[in-house]
């Protein structure tokens, strides 16, 4: 029965995954969906449509909303078979990673029907409005205000570190709906259409030179009261659930399939004697890193298996976020050390591979800040897992 399913998945992928979609992803051809999406490679559009028709962009979501309706075991089979032939991800989506699971848990039927199919098909691109200039690690002190006037909420304030807000169609937002209530009690979770003049997104340039984040300004922006998820002033619980999904996603950030492994990169740069890296002290540190990396991957595998047998993720996601991002920073420090002078070039000389590594090194420093800093994760583990006062 299980083998039959695997066979049918293999056959379907063989028949439907276009040839160029079985090559390593290049950044310009990534598909994030939404109204601004362009398809420089037309096969990525075909691939998205075919996968979306199957519901396999969100394989475990219910069929009634356009998902694949697969069991976790079946979804894993699809993932494994895709990996075997090197399929690209048809759609990279915060809607799938973050918003969808929350809508499935907290949304009403109308909201699920309105939004989930469009997420699955990549028609609407979502961004996340959490942090504010004055509310970073202390997220619950957020001040962006939403007041109910008639049938609409009117929103004023600003969000920061909003990934790709300038290319997104809608934003899911934490807003303050009751300023008189306690910090965490007056917050609501709502969805806002960004296609209105009262919402503006401005990119922020990072040390890596890229601008993946924006600041978003709301000036009397409007959203219908039906776009409130869960109950009024009940947003904090949803926010925490969503952060768990986000942390788990960020923790896997070190696993880029198409990237050169550190040991191979170091061999290229430093050279070997008798099959061993000539710099023995550096080799020892690379081995230590790779061991921690493998240990971490095994832990993700164990946790995934345990969650499937009913174990709740909860604070475990903080551990993954902490460990994965600190590990990723360590990797890029070692990459830079392997590259030596080659890693110091910004532009105008050398290899693109090295320049990308340099940019990734800079970018990696943000991993342990975004989605809750490492220090916040340590606080969560200490209090919620270890029960320290």
């Amino acid at each position: 029965m299980h083998e039959d399913f695997r066979q049918s998945v293999r056959q379907w992928l063989h028949d439907n995954c276009p040839p160029s979609m079985r090559t390593p992803m290049v950044e310009e051809e990534e598909v994030w969906g939404g109204n601004t999406q362009e398809f420089p490679n037309p096969e990525s559009k075909i691939w998205l449509q075919r996968m979306a028709d199957k519901g396999w962009t969100a394989p475990e979501w219910p069929k009634v909303y356009g998902g694949g309706g697969l069991s976790p075991q079946e979804a894993l089979v699809v993932k494994e078979e895709m990996q075997k032939i090197g399929c690209r991800s048809p759609l990279i989506s915060f809607g799938i990673w973050m918003l969808g699971p929350v809508l499935l848990q907290y949304g009403n039927e109308q909201q699920k029907k309105q939004h989930l199919p469009k997420i699955i098909r990549g028609e609407i691109r979502w961004c996340q409005g959490y942090s504010e200039p004055e509310a970073g690690s202390d997220l619950a002190s957020l001040a962006t205000r939403a007041e109910l006037l008639g049938e609409h909420f009117v929103i004023n304030g600003s969000k920061v570190w909003t990934s790709y807000a300038d290319e997104s169609d809608w934003i899911f937002c934490l807003v303050r709906t009751d300023p008189a209530a306690g910090k965490q009690q007056g917050i609501s979770f709502m969805l806002i259409d960004m296609n209105q003049a009262a919402v503006k997104a401005e990119p922020i340039r990072l040390i890596s030179g890229a601008s993946p984040f924006c600041e978003v300004f709301f000036k009397d922006a409007k959203t219908h009261q039906d776009n409130l998820i869960g109950r009024l002033n009940g947003g904090w619980q949803i926010a925490k659930a969503l952060l768990n999904h986000e942390r788990q996603a960020i923790s896997e950030i070190g696993k880029k399939a198409d990237e050169l492994p550190l040991d191979i990169y170091a061999k290229q740069k430093i050279g070997t004697h008798d099959g061993r890296l000539t710099d023995r002290a550096f080799r020892d540190r690379i081995a230590a890193y790779l061991m921690d990396q493998q240990a971490f991957q095994l832990t993700i595998e164990r946790e995934t298996a345990l969650q499937k047998s009913g174990h709740s993720p909860g604070a475990a996601s903080s551990m993954f976020k902490l460990y994965g991002t600190e590990l990723n920073k360590r990797k890029y420090e070692l990459m830079m050390e392997a590259a030596g002078f080659d890693g110091l070039v910004w532009e105008g000389a050398g290899e693109e591979q090295d320049q990308q590594a340099t940019r990734d090194w800079l970018r990696s420093k943000g991993n342990s800040i975004e989605g809750g800093t490492s220090e916040i994760q340590l606080n969560v583990i200490a209090k919620r897992v270890l029960g320290l006062p």
Partner: protein, 380 residues
Amino acid sequence: MMNWDMTDEEKLLKVSADNFFREKLPLNHLRRLRDSQDQVGFARDTWQEMAALGWTGILIREEFGGMDFGFRGLGLIMAAAGPHLSSTPLLSTVACASFLIQNVGNKTQKDSLLPLVASGESIICVAHDEGRQHGDHSIELSARSLASGFLLNGRKTMVLDAGLADHILVLARSHAESLELHGLSWFLVPKDTPGIQWEQFRLVDGRPATHIVFKNVELKASALLGTLGEAGSSYEEMRNAASVSLAAEMLGSATAAFEMTLAYLKERKQFGVAIGSFQALQHRMAWMYSELEVARSVVQRALVAMDEKSADATILASLAKGKLSDLFPHVAAEAIQLHGGIGMTDEHNIGFFLKRSRIHAELFGNASFHRDRYARALGF
């Protein structure tokens, strides 16, 4: 996909192992052992009780009187011994000797020895190390071929569990010109063979250990275990077996030291509050918790790789022993620091964890050794 959950059988084994070590070999047993200058290091009747539970034969196939529960089973027992720093010949006799004899022994050796190990009657110590550290370069004890058998000359260091052993498993260089893992052979030497001298001493944690000198020790041809000159690969396999078993025990010990410390942080008050409320201490504990969780996955996976005789068993065994050889000493040292002054007193048990951590970190290869072995296995 590996099964990360315990089977019902494994759950039962874990419960009975946890109870056994808590009742029969608690930490105070190690303290008494030290204080009484015990020369043996464990009690024969406790070993017989473990045999009655099937643990001495846990790796041994049923045809030789064993339980054939594999490394997953042995790992559960070692992990249960860890929190109490219980001292038994599980590592030498079960993880090393029974594993090796079953893998490379001839029919006579397996038929005669394995049932005795399983029944608890035979205890076998392993004499492999010679230098200041576990490694491949230093093995020099020579085995010269005679018409009637072999002649051993040389010295072995840091042999555990020799006290009640009836046999010594000796790793010797049978091909004089060879290097490292080439030209090595195994010999099963009856303890009372003439020419063997024992140099007993006490380890930092109070357990006895022995250096063994072999001076013109004559062996019959039948003492050879496995193929002459080909012990290198079986030594590597035994090193994997010992590494994963030790790693399981070290994880159990490290987890216990962590939990003792966690309890202390909740109870000890300074400045009018529990010291566990201080963020500087909380973060150290949260990091240790994360490292222990990661180590747990590694140990579980490595034990399964041994049972599956998987191609990456060496990588996973070195991953497990390498991680734990760093982590256990780290957790033990942090435990002392977080206990403060009381942690430095002999009266408090936490100090035993630090001492044990150093010993187990060095046995069968320390962290550097296993990082090197891991890197070699990955080809860099």
